[in-house]
Assembly symmetry: C2
Homo-oligomer: 426 residues x 2
Amino acid sequence: MIHGIWERRLLEEIDYAKGSFSVAGWLHEIRTDGKKLVLVMSDKSGVKELVLNKEDAPPEILEIPKGSHIVISGSRESPLKIERVDVVSRPDAEWPIDLTKINDHSDIELVKKRHLYIRSPRMIAVLKIQSEILRAAREFLDSEGFIEILPPIISTATDPGLRGAKIAEIDFYGSRMKLMGSMMLHKQMAVAGLEKVYAVSPNIRLEPEEAKETGRHLSQFYQIDLEAVHWTYEDAMHLGEQMLVHIIRSVKERCSKELDFLKRDLRIPRLPFKRLTHKEAVDLARKLGFEANYDKEIPWEAEKAISMRFKEPFWIKDYPDASRGFYDKLGENARLKDFDLMYPEGYGEAISGSEREHTYEGVLRQMKKTGIDPKDYDWYLEMLKFGMPPIAGFGLGVERLTRFICGLQKVWEASPFPKVPGVVSP
Amino acid sequence: MIHGIWERRLLEEIDYAKGSFSVAGWLHEIRTDGKKLVLVMSDKSGVKELVLNKEDAPPEILEIPKGSHIVISGSRESPLKIERVDVVSRPDAEWPIDLTKINDHSDIELVKKRHLYIRSPRMIAVLKIQSEILRAAREFLDSEGFIEILPPIISTATDPGLRGAKIAEIDFYGSRMKLMGSMMLHKQMAVAGLEKVYAVSPNIRLEPEEAKETGRHLSQFYQIDLEAVHWTYEDAMHLGEQMLVHIIRSVKERCSKELDFLKRDLRIPRLPFKRLTHKEAVDLARKLGFEANYDKEIPWEAEKAISMRFKEPFWIKDYPDASRGFYDKLGENARLKDFDLMYPEGYGEAISGSEREHTYEGVLRQMKKTGIDPKDYDWYLEMLKFGMPPIAGFGLGVERLTRFICGLQKVWEASPFPKVPGVVSP
């Protein structure tokens, strides 16, 4: 491993250090405790209280402002012996947020001040878990023969906005290009040759500003988006639940320290997950006192109430015709061959997918039913005209998975650079 | 592994099949050869000529149009015995491009028809190699203790356009948001807490339309973007060359079939790479008959000529003050502590990076020199005001690396969904 200028230890390693040590980190607090001095510091390994004898401490240490980045060198005795403190950077003013306590600040403030809050121990724990989620997902998909592709950012066509979300556009040399609402159309393009594809795909959906109240919507989010040829939607559900269990197991094994810090007791779900048909889910919603219709999507509040009743993730499948995207395959009894995976405990939707309508005529028919203008999908329709094999696949929202795994209140904490509907932020 | 509806073989496995087999793929050609019938088919494993006795072939086989997706079932004899052909999809018109021969088509045509061309054996080979590049890069960075983060797509501030490229913007709830020119500012934000970060980061740069003539510019491209605290630029160069060798070695080991198909003889470079100072590179450019200035970036044609003289990748370092981004650290003698890695054989720039200017005052000074308005960088400057540790890092262009590894003429072939300056495409 390449270490940079000096062999620096992490704060968590200090307890095991033999002889001298050198650590670097953010200084959050200095307090006196009788004859002792307590420095509260953090680095990527977490928060650490360093205890030293006041009389041994370099006197200039008391002058260092909170929020400074410091390097301390010393030797491991009890209490610590600090021989030298270097202030690497010193804040210009008092910190507007406290990195070790989040409850004093509004959510929106922490989104707008993300350029500072991102270095908090809490965000570091979440982002380390998110990186393990990505690693584990790729490990699983690689072992299943999927090929990763670089997702599109702009195109002349994308998945149309759903449930009222708008698609963003840029000027591209005098023409308009759309930002991806999802890479649905592009993964169909790629899977025709590669047969099993996935991407960690960024989406921009300008949800109505009210969506910020739900705590589960971001205007910018990522999906693990995959597709496979000659698959049914049952095959895709089978893969989805295995992938989720693999990810959760990996996070439990490799990020137990971070889960403890977040006070999250995460259970590994049992396979296979329960499968409700849409009809059964509507019946359950009605039993719980919600209005729900056999021919429509389940309202969000009802979905959440159902999810609260479960202790394990569960599928809802066979949604009614025309209630979803034009690319869902129509099966028997006016039911689509599609599915959502729901998290338990009220965490809501995890995965959305289907067997895809892969014929030109079939897509035109479904476009008409869902009020989509075929003129906006020229290359996509040409692609279908020249033929496609049958396919199935899904998208899994990365931030929502991170939120569930970490047990976070708001999905905004599950993104390093969150964009909340209506909120201008870094 | 989850196989989908049936245990389908790949075309490349037919030769080893025992008893019966079932394969699915695209039909490119049917020709007769005496009493034999030759089907040219492809799937993700490559192109295969299937030879059968004309009299044994199902008669309907001759009627299947080129470009159909078919499933053939039979048994492995010599010649093959085909018992059944199912046409899964049939094109509606004659194919506008030939997937097995690229030389008949202009580059731009293959970009605009990417929704069809992406299923060509050539694109499949390139994309499989690209996926191995990403896997190997992550494997290396994970082992070096880097944490992967999800890159930003939109923000109020980004790296300013370089060498005449424009930054794209969207309307965000009545405000303007920029698409990332690079995630330079955001990776500085993240590294303050995570200490070693990377992302596979999408960038949109609207290069001048003339840039399409170079064959090395895309309006949408990806970088492996990384940053580490307490590193010098020498540490970053050290990491960069080790990562590149690791990637090339992995591709050679795991994608030899694809490299053969692309006729690419790829050498593993020797470590360490040669380091030229900017001054030495200018001297060399002049010796080769180019105009080059000790106080400016090296003109692109001169850079290419220098790269043609090398058989191995090489570094150019210590660029003149104010010739690069405001975030490069100024060292001694009005030289920046920065570097580019150049591919040999005329493939041009691979990596660009530096030790970063991490102080508020230093960045303001460099902004002034490079003509940047600090007003556009409010959160970034606030972040610096509250203090940063010293950092170094770089970006490595994924499509340019793919181009070099695959030996491609144009970088457009190194992207699944290329956006070429001025060309509207899927």
